[in-house]
Amino acid sequence: MMPVLLISDVLLFVLIALTVTGLVFAARREPIRRAWRNVLSDPIAMAALAVLMVFVTGAILDSLHFRRALPPAAVVAPAATTAPASTMTSAKTYYSVEVESLLDVALGDPRARREKSYSAPFAHTLFERQSVDLGDGRRARQYPRLKYGAAQLKDPEHDKASDIASRAAWGVTAALGCVCVMGLLIGGGIARRHRIPLRVALHRLCEGETVLAWRAFLASSTILLVVLVPLLFLSMHYHVFGTDRVGNDLFHYAFKAMRTALLIGTLTSLVTLPLGIGFGIAAGYIGGWVDDAVQYIYTVISSIPYVLLIAASVLLMQVVIQSHDAWFDTAAARADARLVSLCLIIGAISWTSLCRLMRAEALKLRELDYVQAARAFGVTPLSIMRRHILPNAFHIVLITLVLDFSGLVLAEAVLSYVGVGVDAATISYGSMINSARAELARDPMVWWQIATAFVFMVSLVLAANLFADAVREAFDPRGQGATRRRLRRRPA
């Protein structure tokens, strides 16, 4: 086995490292910690967080890539043709060109489960009749049995329902077990932190009286586990969400698409943050010609319609990738290069909105007395920007980040539809919708592909939006309770 580090993996891990560093830093600063405590004491945010964690876990699992070593016999070693080198061949292992990830291992080998074509969720036959050789020379059109789905059953018509029910029941039991463990872990954590007996901690947890809204987190996790764990159990023997046109298992695809969605939503920030923060603060604080130049640049970029500029850039990038095929040793690497460059292009175009906000904030902060006081000490402009402007404008960065995330996930679908999104080989919700769309005219309809994409995408975007709301509410000093306000119930 050879671990493979795609560019996007590296960037994702860099991003995770940065986030962790940021969190450690934030944990030491009381005002930031307080704001985060506000976010996490909101039950809706905690419930959303549980959903987001599923997606993040999926994405991380799917980012640990490797190539399998091929069994020696299967190797058609080019070196074998030349006699002197033949001694070397036994020492050298060859690796499959197929890049797999830990997620593929967890969900089962996708190639082993590929069917011929469409099949409905939990089906045991293909969706369409095919002419089958009956063995005695006669051919008939019938629904062939699936290679993988419900293959363990002798008489699917009869046994399927009970088989599904029993497997699902096992799944639910396992899920509930997980919930209990989680509850105990959280309760134990609370008990240790507040130095109270576990029993009291669990009681508070159940009553929703903890500082952070752990009850909501647990409730949301329960729902997720009770749905996902049985599906996972069942997916070992069924295509729980059906298969697509070339027979790929959609349950597997829905999980693979998590990584794409998250990458698009987050990698972009690696470009937008430095540009937006740097230019924005410099323009606002220094003013003068720096301000004029920055304003000019962002007006030029933002005056071009977003989708069109991305489309133009991606078209050009596509040409570059096409003409430099030699750069990539696997198809996965090529698809990955396209994904990363899409993120970079979107980032290079969308930093302007953050820049504009940061500039406005820096203009405002520049006049504040604490900045004046620092200037009175002769503190250098660079350290004023770093110590005074940036920390006090950082809530804008955070709010923009979380708000942009969901927008980017949605944009991916549109871009993929337009044909300037991710590579055809990359699994994404956009490409799932796109290929499903063509089949909607079919009668009876192939509904499961679009439904899968819909459910996963809406879960992700909705959770991100709800979480973003809580973040905005906690960090925005201006909009106190602007969007949601919890009024106490009046005593009767």
């Binding site: 071009i304 095929d325 337009v418 919708i433 991100a464």
Partner: protein, 325 residues
Amino acid sequence: MIAYLLRRLLWAIPILLGVNLLLFALFFIVNTPEDMARAHLGVKRVSAESIARWKSERGYDKPLFINTAAQGSKRLTDTIFFDKSVRMFALDFGQSDEGRNINHELGTRMWPSLALAVPSFLLGLAIAISVALLLALARYTAFDALTTVACVVMMSISGLFYIIAGQFIFSKLLAWVPISGYQPGLDAVRFLILPVVIGVMAGIGSSVRWYRAIFLEEMGKDYVRTARAKGLSELRVLFGHVLKNGMIPILTGVVVVIPTLFLGSLISESFFGIPGLGSFTIDAIQSQDFAIVRAMVFIGALLYIVGLILTDISYTLVDPRVRLQ
């Protein structure tokens, strides 16, 4: 005030120049005509002659900036830069890579785009503002909370799903409207009704939330307290005082998009088969027609800048603080 508007107009010139140069750099320097030809003719097994032919047919064989072979002013004008970039300022977009006249296409395809975009825009704005006002009136009630949650859910759904679900329900199941297509004249209504409704639906969640936040912020201001202390009813406070102040931030976001309505909607035009500029652009992107993409990007930027100027004008109409400066 006139001087202010004139200054904004002058400001547009360097911006457009910047856009133009950016596009030129993207299309002819980062990416050479050679690359474009290869992208069109296929990467492998393509002869040098066919590439040269492809380039000369489309005028991509000229030098970039200075034509040393030509005489007099032709040295500057007979170049890619002049032909492809400078001419755009005269709104002359030349031929598409497929040989169609882009200006002609723009003229004919603009109308279906407008027929779809204008009603969607007006209806969406009217509905969003009304709902937001209603929410501001019923603020912090269960109705408000539920509608706000509904808005979050609506804005979490990709526009593609609205279109697919709409086509499935209203065209396929109920067969109320045709699934796609377009006819000019009054007949167009039949084809446009679904895309318009879907366009409104897809955009309403975020705009209602945004407008509601604006109105609520206004409602917290001191002048509202004054208005209430005068004995005005809540409705009169809302319509007489809050609405007019709230319109100022709303205008910033709204007026700027009005000119870009000409460009149409990329997605719904192509889903509903409406022969507007949106589907024109999509087709161009999918067939990698660089000339059209370049023209559309330039027009988009031009319209956006017009939008910025319109925004400034609308400010002076609505906000006396700007008018009197």
